[in-house]
């Protein structure tokens, strides 16, 4: 008898508590910055595509929903020729982000991706690429990699010596 009354009392008290329910969609839930939602391809500080087409995200993906083809511009910079994510398969595990060596692929705090037609959940590169550095500002992979690309020749990356003059006899 007592426990019944106690429960009723507690329920009654909840009327005066702060509401946990958000009036979605009028009111949006505040999502933490590391929320694993919509996947995007980000750009480096110079505005170039960060993705270098290394295939690590695709390999890490447990449902194999990422497929891409790497290609190269005339100066040797790698980028994906196409980059496709089948969101109807994606489980938003974030392994792709974890595998990405260039911070290109990032999961953003946004989950509003529902579609009536499943085919519309297939995102191509133009749907994925955003004009932002995402969560990791300042990182530019090609500034630390040894490959020469347009605008950065051999020896011009961070912590690199100028190219060796192989004809020199000096020690």
């Amino acid at each position: 008898m007592f426990s019944l009354l106690r429960s009723m009392w507690l329920v009654f008290l909840h009327m005066f508590h702060k509401r946990e329910t958000y009036q979605y969609p009028e009111e949006k839930a505040p999502l933490p910055a590391r929320w694993r939602g919509r996947i995007a391809l980000t750009r480096d500080p110079d505005g170039g595509e960060r993705c270098v087409g290394c295939y690590l995200c695709a390999a890490a993906c447990p449902v194999d929903c990422i497929s891409l083809q790497a290609t190269e511009d005339e100066h040797g910079r790698r980028y994906p020729e196409f980059f496709r994510i089948n969101f109807s398969r994606c489980i938003f595990c974030g392994f792709c982000e974890e595998a990405c060596p260039t911070y290109a692929i990032q999961l953003l705090p946004d989950f509003e991706m529902a579609e009536y037609n499943r085919q519309n959940l297939v995102y191509e590169k133009e749907n994925l690429l955003i004009n932002s550095q995402g969560k990791y500002p300042g990182y530019n992979y090609y500034k630390v990699a040894g490959m020469a690309i347009g605008g950065k020749d051999k020896g011009e990356a961070e912590r690199e010596e100028p190219p060796v003059d192989i004809k020199s006899l000096l020690p």
Binding site: A59, D64, V122, M147, K154, E160, P162
Partner: protein, 902 residues
């Protein structure tokens, strides 16, 4: 056998090897860089350090490099010793100080020995925070990409390129921590074996440039074990596919055939499979249908095949299965071998000599173990490149043995052996119509007319005791040469004679046979190797059929209504005029092929056939070794294997001989049953219902990615993966993950060993055969059961001395590794390296006589038809002869030797 103790456990190992090999053979993971099973040890990288102990009481021990330590009985070592593993980690740490942060954009990533070894040693954190050394790269031609920053100075590249393959244009430059591996100046790497650098290099300094055009990681490709179609040697390859196009060819180790290597034509000549010239749809001339389905085509052909008289023309570049099914479809008496007149004669003779003679034809690795070589009229680097590489190894046998005896070193102590032998070479004699790339290693290279070369061969046989009609009119120089060759061959323990299709001369094959038989009669294990023009020439010859000339006659006489041509461009089999004439008189020409060619233009029905990447089949190489190749990926559209098309034609016409045949196994079984010479080819690989633990063998690695996204742009619901009913391989990544049977290894991978170096795990011993034997089955064995000479009489008559004919030139073939082969030339890189426009090679005296100079045009009449060529001068060519690059596109002449009238 010796007993060695590794970490307290005792093992029986083979004496004479080094400790690293012993450990790897035992399955112990030990990191290494500079050592390579084919190159031996130099102890340069310090990566394979282990602890060695004096005796049981020794607890301190000392570090040794396992690759430099011979196996000795009662040796005590420790691999897991803390000091040893710390040392190995330290070494990797140093190697990595200058290694760029490149893995994401490096083509080697995922199949990188440096990655594997770094993980193996446990080096995970960078302690070096200063600047990195950088280099400028070089342009190295259409096949290889250069990225010197990644170099770890293991020296494997120059050891392979210079020491093993005899390349001249690559070396190590500069000094101390600035050493540079490349060419003295930018330019195309000249060696025919340069592509192997991509596999030899443990990291990404040299990578496959054609793969880069459509880059795919190792784990993302669908692989199948295949056989190279580039020449007659039948090197084993692994072909990888992604998104419906062929991406890469890599070496499939076969301890008897190609070992660890491939030539550049084999490695890079694959892109014809992706060519826009591919025949992808069925075509019927004058058909009113908008789209023609397979059923339409078969119904159309049913009337043709049942109503009229039909003949079939086979092909030396099609599989045995396809040729056999065509033979059964049209009947034995209507089946013609689609080879030129000369090739047919040579193949017939070669088969007779190999089948009935007493001398064994060696596998490529046996050829590499020969200690004296005689080459009669063969430019190996252009006609059978990997056999040329084998000859390069063969000439090292004698000096290596001498060095081992003199300096008391072992064969794998590479630096010591090379130091002791300097640039001495064993006996090797090359007789050819013009200089060859191997002349530099020859004891003597001699250039003469084909018949004169055969005469020298016969004279050698005579000196060795063969009953040859005495050859009197040799010059003094030739007599000395004959004596020198005979002496060298009789002194050798394992002499090897090589001849083949290179000169188009039958007499040279006979002479080679005589020489080898004479050596055999002396009790020597002589070897006789014949090169063949195409990947299945010998197989087609063994299958048997009528000559192509008689097909021409039959058609011209109006005896034939329908001609079925199997994977063959008849313009390469007869000269243009004959082919035009022949095709004009064919009422119906059915062509099954994969590339659009001149014959396809004349065809009335065109059926799209699968290339080697879309077909299963069997090829017989020049050794008589039958080898199976597997389909890499499911063919798209109307493309099917040729034999499947022909089986369907057989079914619709109610052919009795093809009844109940549907799958590959049915066909191979029928071949083995109906043609005793092919007995056993149905067991080359396990049958289609073969399962390990109830599972098929997957063509795709377990990390294969993108399955639910690859086709999603077309339809988000994934299609059912293609099913392989013909073989025990599956097109998916599901299946048995352990080691497959050696004949059907789709790719080499082992836990911790992602790179090609994982081959170690599949071998009985390092450099030995694969675990359940090297794939392939030899169909030809010597016939030595009668006294002396098998069942074949000696060839007693040498040809007449070559006499130039006034106003005429004897046209002899000149082959090019890039350009002469029909299919590979449809690959951009190969086309870039091909000699381009057809030319005619003349002796300077002839050029003077006919008043032409280099680059002039010369008109010749061959069989009454005029041909114009650009002149090239070659002083080594005999007077009265002209070298013509047969096989080159646009040459118009399919067949030489032939007399050309000026």
């Amino acid at each position: 056998m010796a007993i060695i103790h590794i970490d307290g456990k005792s093992y029986d190992v083979k004496e004479g090897r080094n400790l690293l090999e012993a450990c790897l053979s035992l399955g112990i993971d030990l990191p290494y860089f500079c050592w390579h099973p084919a190159l031996g040890s130099v102890g340069a990288c310090r990566q394979c350090a282990v602890k060695s102990f004096k005796d049981e009481k020794d607890t301190k021990g000392r570090l040794i490099m396992s690759c430099m330590e011979p196996v000795k009985d009662q040796l005590r070592i420790s691999v897991t010793d803390q000091e040893a593993s710390a040392f190995r980690e330290q070494v990797i740490g140093w190697l990595m100080t200058n290694h760029p942060h490149d893995c994401a954009v490096c083509d080697e990533g995922g199949s990188c020995h440096l990655q594997d070894m770094t993980v193996m040693t446990g080096h995970s954190y960078r302690n070096y925070h200063f600047t990195k050394r950088t280099y400028k790269n070089q342009y190295l031609g259409p096949f290889l990409n250069h990225e010197m920053n990644r170099c770890i100075q293991c020296y494997r590249c120059v050891r392979f390129y210079k020491d093993f393959a005899g390349g001249k244009d690559m070396d190590v430059f500069a000094a101390h921590n600035h050493v540079y591996f490349g060419r003295h100046k930018e330019g195309t790497l000249e060696s025919e074996f340069s592509g192997n650098l991509a596999e030899i290099c443990p990291t990404g300094v040299f990578t496959d440039k054609t793969l880069k055009q459509h880059y795919t990681r190792k784990w993302d490709m669908t692989y199948a074990p295949s056989i190279c179609q580039g020449c007659s040697l039948g090197c084993n390859i692994i072909a990888g596919e992604r998104y419906g196009s062929l991406r890469q060819i890599s070496t499939r180790y076969n301890g008897a055939v190609n070992g660890y290597f491939l030539c550049d034509r084999g490695r890079y000549g694959y892109e014809f499979v992706n060519s826009p010239r591919r025949i992808r749809e069925i075509a019927i001339r004058n058909s009113t249908l908008a789209t023609i389905t397979a059923d339409d085509a078969l119904r159309h052909l049913k009337d043709k095949l049942t109503g009229g008289r039909v003949i079939g023309i086979g092909s030396p570049r099609a599989s045995l299965e396809s040729n056999f099914v065509l033979q059964q479809l049209v009947g034995q008496d209507q089946f013609y071998l689609g080879m030129t007149h000369t090739e047919h004669d040579l193949a017939t003779l070669a088969l007779k000599i190999l089948k009935q003679g007493p001398v064994r034809t060696p596998s490529m690795q046996e050829a590499a173990a020969a200690d004296a070589v005689l080459i009669l009229g063969e430019d190996l680097l252009n006609t059978a490149p990997m056999l040329g590489l084998a000859v390069r190894q063969a000439v090292r046998r004698q000096p290596t043995q001498d060095a081992m005896n003199a300096a008391h070193v072992l064969a794998w102590q590479d630096a010591a052996v090379r130091e002791a032998m300097q640039d001495r070479n064993g006996p090797c004699f090359i007789l050819n119509i013009q200089p060859t790339g191997l002349d530099e290693i020859a004891t003597r290279a001699y250039h003469a007319a084909p018949d004169n070369i055969a005469r020298i061969g016969f004279a050698v046989a005579q000196v060795l005791g063969a009953p040859v009609t005495v050859i009197t009119d040799l010059t003094e120089e030739e007599r000395q040469l004959v004596q020198q060759i005979a002496d060298a061959l009789s002194a050798a323990a394992r002499p090897l004679i090589i001849a083949g299709y290179g000169m188009g001369n039958e007499a040279s094959l006979r002479a080679a046979a005589d020489v080898s038989w004479a050596l055999h009669a002396q009790g020597k294990p002589a070897m006789l190797s014949f090169t063949m023009p195409e990947c299945n020439t010998l197989g087609l010859e063994m299958l048997g059929g009528l000559r192509l000339d008689s097909a021409v006659d039959a058609v011209l006489n109006g005896e034939v209504d329908t001609v079925i041509v199997l994977e063959n461009d008849l313009y390469r089999r007869m000269d243009k005029h004959t082919a035009d004439h022949f095709l004009k008189h064919c009422k119906d020409l059915v062509l099954l092929d994969h590339l659009y060619n001149a014959t396809a233009e004349k065809a009335t029905v065109l059926l799209p056939a699968g290339s080697f990447a879309e077909s299963d089949g069997t090829l017989v190489n020049n050794e008589g070794r039958a080898q199976r190749f597997f389909q890499v990926y499911g063919a798209t559209g109307a493309i099917q294997e040729s034999w499947r098309w022909l089986l369907q034609l057989g079914a619709i016409t109610g052919n009795e001989r093809l009844r109940h045949m549907q799958f590959l196994d049915d066909v191979t079984e029928a071949i083995a049953k109906r043609q005793p010479v092919f007995a056993g080819i149905d067991h080359l690989t396990p049958p289609a219902d073969f399962r390990i633990a109830g599972q098929k063998i997957p063509r795709e690695p377990h990390r294969y990615s993108g399955r639910t996204a690859m086709q999603a742009n077309v339809n988000v619901s994934e299609p059912k993966p293609p099913v392989d009913d013909d073989t025990a391989l599956s097109f998916t990544m599901e299946g048995y993950r352990g080691e497959p049977p050696s004949s059907m290894i789709p790719f080499f991978w082992w836990p911790g060993w992602n790179s090609v170096q994982s081959i170690n795990k599949f071998q009985v011993e390092i450099g030995g055969s694969l675990h359940d034997g090297d794939p392939g089955k030899r169909l030809l064995e010597p016939n030595g059961n009668s006294n002396g000479n098998g069942h074949i009489p000696w060839f007693t008559d040498a040809p007449e001395h070559f006499v130039p004919m006034a106003g005429h030139l004897l046209m002899v073939p000149v082959y090019h590794i890039y350009g002469s082969e029909e299919l590979s030339v449809h690959t951009p890189g190969i086309a870039e390296r091909s000699p381009g426009a057809p030319y005619i090679m003349l002796n300077p005296d002839d050029a003077k006589r006919y008043e032409v100079a280099e680059h002039h045009q010369l008109q010749l009449a061959v069989n009454g038809h005029p041909y114009t060529f650009t002149v090239k001068i070659n002083p080594a060519l005999h007077r009265g002869m002209a070298g013509v690059p047969v096989g080159l596109q646009g040459i118009g002449i399919a067949e030489v030797p032939e007399l050309g009238k000026l």
